[in-house]
Symmetry: C2
């Protein structure tokens, strides 16, 4: 027999935890399913400075641990399992996992979206210690220092421009000879004296001690190798939403993210989405947490109506 809940939440990052705080506190029987560790991507952040309420900052690990404790206190259950698919049976949602199937009246999809990694030595080791995927989050930590941005699309060049407010020098490292970013963004970057470009170049290794110190580079045309001293490297080469298990039932946008309205409703009544997995997420903890609360409130209204 399938175990039944009023709300099943998929994903244990800030969006899912916030949703769980709200649904559990509203006395809806609630289960959160997470395949790995509770906390999501932000557990790698050594210091989150911009989550309102923590003027001295807080580590991503500590912040999500507090949220988990809060949700558990209100009665949220947690299951370690991987969701493999979702099926609809009338109004019921059948959540298929490697630990068995579950039944839910409402689902909140909060399984996140990972930044695409470079996949090179040093990247994982120095994540949160100079390697970042988010200038809004971490740019302020690199005041008057040299940083690199890897990528050539709108996201990368916008990040580079935003970093000029902090860094003394922003090196854009791109594996091609030209940018994919829109012309107006390109022109702005070319006009900005702090931004410099290393064309046809890839990063082969990130080196440092406690924190990032330098990058090992290779020119893909000439094969020439070089070294670049930086305090930080921002990787902006795309992202991969964790939506494989949804493909058969939910329409996704071109990048695989879930489309919602401002009530976090998807096209299927009773299925909501929250956080980075959403098409228009601001990719900030506070945004994810707001999304999670919103999804929970509308899930409660859906169930009780």
């Amino acid at each position: 027999m399938n175990k039944a809940y009023e709300v099943v939440i998929v994903g244990g990052g800030p969006a899912g935890l916030s949703a769980g705080i709200y649904t559990a506190r509203a006395r809806l029987s609630s289960l959160l399913i997470e395949k790995g560790l509770i906390g999501g991507q932000v557990v790698n952040a050594e210091l989150v400075e911009n989550f309102p309420g923590f003027p001295e900052g807080i580590s991503g690990y500590d912040l999500t641990e507090l949220m988990h404790r809060q949700a558990t206190k209100f009665g949220l259950e947690t299951l370690t399992a991987e969701v493999t698919g979702v099926e609809l049976n009338g109004e019921q949602k059948i959540v298929k996992t490697n630990e068995g199937d579950l039944v839910a009246k409402a689902m909140i999809i909060a399984s996140g979206s990972e930044w695409t990694k470079l996949g090179i030595p040093g990247e994982k080791e120095f994540t949160g210690k100079g390697v970042s995927y988010c200038a809004i989050c971490d740019g302020a930590f690199f005041t008057d220092q040299t940083v690199a941005v890897v990528g050539g699309g709108n996201a990368a060049i916008t990040e580079a421009l935003s970093l000029t407010k902090f860094a003394s020098r922003v090196m854009v490292i791109h594996r091609r000879q030209e940018l994919r970013a829109t012309r107006i963004v390109q022109e702005k970057a070319f006009a900005e004296p702090k931004v410099e470009f290393l064309w046809n170049t890839v990063v082969e290794e990130i080196e440092g001690e406690e924190v990032v110190k330098r990058l090992r580079l290779r020119n893909v045309i000439t094969g020439e190798k070089s070294s670049l001293g930086v305090a930080g490297i921002f990787v902006a080469i795309g992202f991969k939403p964790n939506t494989d298990y949804l493909k058969s039932i939910l329409p996704l946008d071109a990048t695989g993210h879930v489309i919602t309205n401002e009530k976090m409703e998807t096209e299927i009544p009773g299925i909501f989405a929250a956080g980075d997995i959403r098409s228009s997420s601001i990719r900030q903890v506070i945004g994810a947490v707001g999304d999670g609360a919103t999804a929970a409130i509308y899930a409660e209204r859906f169930i009780t109506k």
Copy 2:
């Protein structure tokens, strides 16, 4: 000469403070204007249990004080003044206040929306001590107790139904003989044994000691007076957004709230809105704070594009 800022934020509640944390940290010159005390309506909440990150709860005063300290640390300026109007001069926004005019490239409107008060003795004194305007926020504090809900619209009856999850008895006090709520909500309430109705009745006074103990009632047809013992009273008779100063430039919805899209953009480029003043706000601190961050991020993109 008018003082110029990149971003002017109107309103010092959670939405405005969160916006200020984000714009100031992004090194945009930022001014927050608040006519009263920093913190907004939530300063009256003795315990906010559902703001993610505070498993033991936190008072509304302390929470917004932390946010203010955080924003100030990043360089947000604060001005105590009343905004009396907004004018457009090309791309510039002229913010008119009783302390002089200011010029902004972008504005974030976060001046809130107040719950309509009953305006009776005891209401102000016991706010946060049994008098509440939000069942999602405070319902959980009244487990197995008797509470009253004042009002007859959808908001009131939805609150009453939501309170049945906690309270042992929910008395709906309505000054008319019938509800304004939609039929399906009415039917649900009539079918719920915990919900009882006091028709043609108004609350004349809220009494208590440390916390609310009883209500003094009057039947508006017979004039008969009575007393009702309750631990809490939820007032749901509407709300008044603080948007008078915007009427001439921004289209508002039927209740006077500001219409935005999910990027918090209003109809006027460079003017954003966040928090309870928005047409579709969830009226929760965490939602307001998420809105504020979103508005700030899109305001930065607007300014730098």
